[in-house]
């Protein structure tokens, strides 16, 4: 007999559960109230992060609301006063028996060959609550099995018990209703439309929530049995949302990643990139040993660590002003701090930048008051998005925001470069063209009563034409409700200046507005916090005011950002260039500049875990351990500190990132001051006030992880926003990013590598008609070059803009980005010049 242990008496609804008097919360579902009081009710269709449907009937319990006892599905029944519930009665047990017998009537019971066997709710519930025997002798339903419903997910319809979890997730949570019940009746099945696969960025979640073995993920099929898996909780590092995950390994190889229900962050959901890109560490082209370029042959050759370290040490013994480092967003916080201490505190250079000129200015991100995801998603609030479509850049954050806007009535104002997958639900959506976001912000702020000493620069009349939207947005931003501004880089072909101007205007409108930086790269917030940004030392402290007792030195000049570093390197002003897990040949917007820079630097040192086109050109390559191979911590876009934990051993001689600068310091004759990760943590707690109270041992093991107090004492001066240069052609370029791209993590994961689509230029259908573009492609002219690029008609693109994703196969869109502040492109029908 399960004993119900009453929790803290809350003011709410009194009810009786198996003879014990308890109190439920107002509106709480019976199944949740039972869970909270330690009484488990078996269920298949109910999922605490989705709306209940009462499909499976497994959670029937005997309920008396004063009109006599009756069997009721506890997932559909809010607790009402004086309700008497029996979860162990004869009638309840008989109902559970009957439901399971019926659910198993068509289930193949192929458990011995099923991936779910051993962790299967149907199996568990059949053992715990089932009849043990079936009376059915009839033939079971037969379907072709398994069928692929996407590149990543396979469906076995015979095993399916029609609980509606995957289909509800697809339509209600992800907003991608590409799977549906088909042939409802005796042949009901989940399926896609022919040739319209379930190509959702979130398809892996359906596998995780499937209560039987009907949905299986291609990367994990037949890889392991659940009872052989070892597991550890960690944090996803592919983007800056920092979704909580559990890593599962078998025979020292990570074979599966599952989402953890963190109330503050990801609610158990993951994007497929977070879920499946672990493959890159296990199957990617790993760098396993230090490599040094043979001066005679020009080839990289394996060597020992101390040889490579000596060579790097020699390269670091030049004028600090001639040493620069780019990258570091992939690393755990510990590696970032150690590198910052070596480069800024020992070597003395400030030419350090973790962003590849594709984010937002470091001082801006460091200086803004932060919102948490729960702050942003709190019912009753307003969210303003500036930048990109979050579904492409931070998909798990997108799911939280989608829920907030669609289900909880959070009002959304979009100032994004293109329409997004939330635009249909936005309260106000502006047609923003490149360079105009600051002007829209000015117009809104003025209307909302901000005291600004400048006017809207609106020569094209774009803002004026949307005056009613400006009024609607201003009304929402009057300060009566909490406002969160999610700000990212929505257009790589536009200077980030325009975005920071807009942020500045909103800052001046109301001091209480909170911000969330939607920078994409993994631990970029940790990198900025640890001082991998010119002008700053760890803790978001400006270089001049740094007080770091444990540091030998701080730089005595203001450093350059990544773009300036590459320019200086190309001109021969840099002798030693460190690439900290960066692949600028792929990720930096001007590939040609990177090639010239790499050619003109004396020593290029690459620290990375996976071989890339950039590491191939380095003089020294140092192998780093990757995700799942090292312990550490991660700072997400809220400033939340969560643990990264090792589950498998790094390959061969690869080392944790923090050890590499510690060893290099010794070569330089200095001690960094820590020889274990615990000592490094002690130093962080000692020198950085925001880390003073961190309990490193228990970090995030029983909660969502602490949010660091990142609010700064200094203020950024915001002035009049820059006006976009006058349009010189019919279209301005919007360069975006897609989730599936040519980036290292996707390309090195065998299951994901083929998912990116071919690059195409996206135009609004009205523009296509107005300019008479016909056929599948257009001619784009930039300077004296012409390109023929596939054309896609896309209602999400704002008029007079041309949107194209970078980093996709086919056409390299980076070659189109030429303008300093915005980029104008000439587009002609195909075949004309």
């Amino acid at each position: 007999m399960t004993t119900a242990e009453p929790t803290e008496a809350v003011t709410g609804v009194p009810f009786t559960l198996n003879g014990t008097e308890l109190v439920a919360e107002e509106g709480e579902l019976l199944i949740d109230a039972c869970d909270r009081n330690g009484v488990h009710i078996p269920r298949f269709c109910y999922h605490n992060r989705m709306k209940p449907v009462g499909m499976c009937r497994m959670c029937l319990v005997e309920v008396d609301t004063g009109r006599g006892k009756a069997l009721q599905p506890s997932c559909m029944l809010p607790v009402t006063p004086e309700m008497k519930v029996e979860t162990e009665s004869e009638a309840t047990k008989k109902a559970q028996d009957g439901v399971l017998e019926l659910l198993l009537a068509n289930h193949p019971l192929d458990c011995p060959v099923c991936d779910k066997g051993g962790e299967c709710p149907l199996q568990d519930n059949a053992y715990a609550f089932g009849p043990g025997e079936t009376r059915f002798v009839e033939e079971k339903r037969h379907f072709k099995k398994p069928i692929p419903i996407s590149d990543l997910v396979k469906l076995d319809r015979e095993r399916c018990i029609l609980c509606d979890r995957c289909t509800r997730f697809a339509s209600d949570v992800a907003g991608d209703p590409l799977i549906h019940f088909i042939d409802r009746g005796s042949q009901t099945q989940v399926n896609t439309f022919p040739d319209h696969p379930f190509s959702s960025y979130f398809s892996g979640n359906t596998v995780q929530i499937c209560p039987v073995g009907a949905l299986t993920a291609e990367p994990y099929r037949f890889k392991a049995r659940p009872w052989d898996l070892e597991a550890v909780e960690s944090t996803a590092t592919v983007d800056s949302t920092g979704a909580r995950v559990v890593l599962q390994s078998s025979q020292n190889e990570i074979v599966r990643v599952l989402g953890v229900d963190s109330d503050a962050v990801n609610w158990s959901w993951l994007s497929d990139k977070e879920r499946f890109s672990y493959e890159a560490t296990a199957k990617g082209d790993r760098i396993e040993q230090p490599l040094v370029k043979n001066e005679e042959t020009g080839m990289l050759e394996a060597t020992r660590w101390n040889n490579a370290a000596k060579k790097v040490g020699a390269a670091l013994r030049v004028e600090p002003d001639r040493i620069a480092a780019v990258g570091g967003a992939r690393m755990p916080l510990e590696g970032q701090y150690a590198w910052a201490k070596l480069l800024k505190g020992v070597v003395g250079t400030d030419h350090v930048d973790a962003q590849l000129d594709d984010g937002l200015p470091g001082p801006l991100v460091l200086g803004l008051p932060r919102a948490t995801i729960n702050d942003a998603c709190k019912p009753g609030g307003v969210v303003v998005t500036i930048g990109a479509d979050l579904k492409e850049e931070l998909p798990t954050l997108f799911l939280r925001l989608r829920h907030a806007v669609v289900e909880d009535g959070v009002k959304l104002i979009e100032l994004t470069s293109t329409a997004t997958h939330l635009s249909d639900f936005a309260t106000v959506r502006f047609d923003v063209t490149p360079g105009s976001v600051g002007q829209f912000a000015t117009a809104i702020a003025k209307q909302a009563g901000a005291d600004l000493d400048f006017d809207v620069a609106d020569e094209s009349g774009l803002v004026e034409a949307q005056a009613d939207k400006v009024a609607a947005a201003a009304a929402l931003l009057d300060g009566s409700v909490p406002v969160t501004i999610i700000v990212g880089r929505g257009n790589l072909a536009e200077s980030p200046r325009f975005t920071s101007d807009a942020v500045g205007i909103f800052r001046r409108l109301n001091d209480d507005f909170q911000f969330m930086p939607a920078l994409r790269r993994g631990n970029i917030n940790g990198a900025l916090e640890m001082g991998l940004v010119p002008g700053f030392t760890p803790g978001g402290v400006q270089r001049e005011s740094a007080q770091l007792d444990t540091w030998p030195d701080v730089p005595d000049f203001d450093g350059m950002d990544t773009k300036e570093i590459f320019r200086a390197a190309a001109e021969g002003r840099i002798d030693t260039l460190l690439l900290l897990a960066a692949n600028p040949l792929q990720d930096f917007l001007d590939e040609d500049l990177v090639r010239r820079a790499l050619a003109n630097v004396k020593t290029v040192i690459a620290v990375d875990g996976i071989s890339t086109e950039t590491t191939d050109l380095a003089d020294v390559v140092l192998p780093a351990a990757l995700f799942g191979e090292v312990d550490g911590t991660f700072v997400n876009l809220e400033g939340r500190l969560s643990p990264l934990r090792a589950k498998v051993t790094p390959p061969s001689q690869a080392r944790p990132d923090w050890m590499i600068p510690a060893e290099l310091a010794i070569v330089l004759g200095v001690e960094l001051g820590f020889t274990t990760i615990d000592e490094l943590h002690s130093e962080l707690s000692e020198v950085l006030p925001s880390f003073a109270d961190i309990d490193w041992d228990t970090l995030g093991s029983s909660d969502d992880g602490p949010v660091l107090k990142l609010n700064r004492s200094w203020n950024i001066e915001f002035g009049k926003p820059a006006a976009a240069p006058p349009a010189t052609s019919a279209f301005r370029l919007v360069a975006t990013r897609k989730l599936w791209d040519q980036g290292t993590m996707v390309q090195e994961s065998p299951s994901l590598a083929s998912l990116p689509s071919e690059a195409a230029i996206h135009l609004n259908p009205d523009d296509i008609e107005r300019h008479g573009f016909v056929g599948d492609s257009v001619t784009v002219r930039i300077g004296d070059q012409t390109h023929t690029i596939p054309l896609t008609s896309d209602v999400r693109v704002n008029p007079t803009t041309a949107s194209i994703p970078v980093c996709l196969p086919g056409f390299d869109a980076r070659t189109l980005i030429t303008g300093r502040s915005t980029t104008a492109v000439e587009i002609r029908p195909n075949g004309t010049t």
């Binding site: 991608d176 209703p177 590409l178 088909i182 009746g185 399926n191 439309f193």
Partner: protein
């Protein structure tokens, strides 16, 4: 066969405008597609999905629920022979067997010339006239084998009852003039329908004890 013709797209737009939400128009639109092609083609479902702003999977989910939406091509004449109890007692199954032999197909099959598709169905609510069948949902009552053969012969030649091809709903399409609309004309339209303003005032019910 395929997407809706331009003329039918116009009809579809008119149908969609009758509903507050576009996707509410799905069933009439599926009828429209079936009327055009004799069945609901995959391409047509994709087209309807575009027209009402949902995914093709959702259209298929609705379409596949209804037995009378055919997703494979069927014959020009769909013959449904009842084999439920009243018809069975009065020779419905024998009639079905005869139909199989005459047409050379099993239930669910279509003759090679594409004229006939045969189905066995449950009660079609004409028990007093058993055994009975439907041709494109037009009733034929109390048939014996000779009647069946004569009916087939007639359909092959003169089609004296003028039965339209499978999928045809009505010869006259309903066009609802604005002043007869039962609701708003389109989701954007917030004006009160004309009939609403023209209706007679409703008398207040009198107090019982007054």
């Amino acid at each position: 066969m395929s997407r809706l013709t331009p003329e039918n797209v116009e009809v579809a737009k008119e149908i969609i405008a009758r509903y507050p939400r576009p996707k509410s128009a799905l069933i009439p639109l599926l009828h429209l597609a079936q009327e055009q092609d004799g069945y609901v083609a995959d391409d047509a479902m994709e087209h309807l999905a575009e027209l009402v702003g949902i995914t093709p999977a959702e259209v298929l989910g609705t379409c596949s629920f209804y037995e009378m939406f055919k997703r494979e091509p069927v014959g020009k004449y769909m013959i449904n022979v009842c084999t439920n109890i009243s018809c069975q007692l009065l020779g419905g199954e024998e009639l079905l067997h005869h139909a199989e032999k005459t047409l050379g197909i099993r239930p669910g099959g279509t003759t090679d010339d594409g004229l006939f598709t045969l189905e066995d169905v449950e009660c079609i609510a004409a028990c007093t006239e058993a055994p009975c069948l439907q041709v494109n949902y037009r009733y034929k009552y109390k048939l014996d084998n000779a009647d069946f053969d004569a009916m087939i012969e007639d359909l092959r030649t003169t089609n004296k009852d003028n039965i339209p091809p499978h999928g045809t709903l009505a010869e006259q399409r309903q066009h609802i003039p604005a002043d007869k609309l039962a609701g708003i004309g389109s989701p954007e339209d917030t004006t009160t329908p004309e009939w609403f303003s023209k209706r007679l005032p409703v008398e207040e019910p009198k107090e019982e004890n007054a």
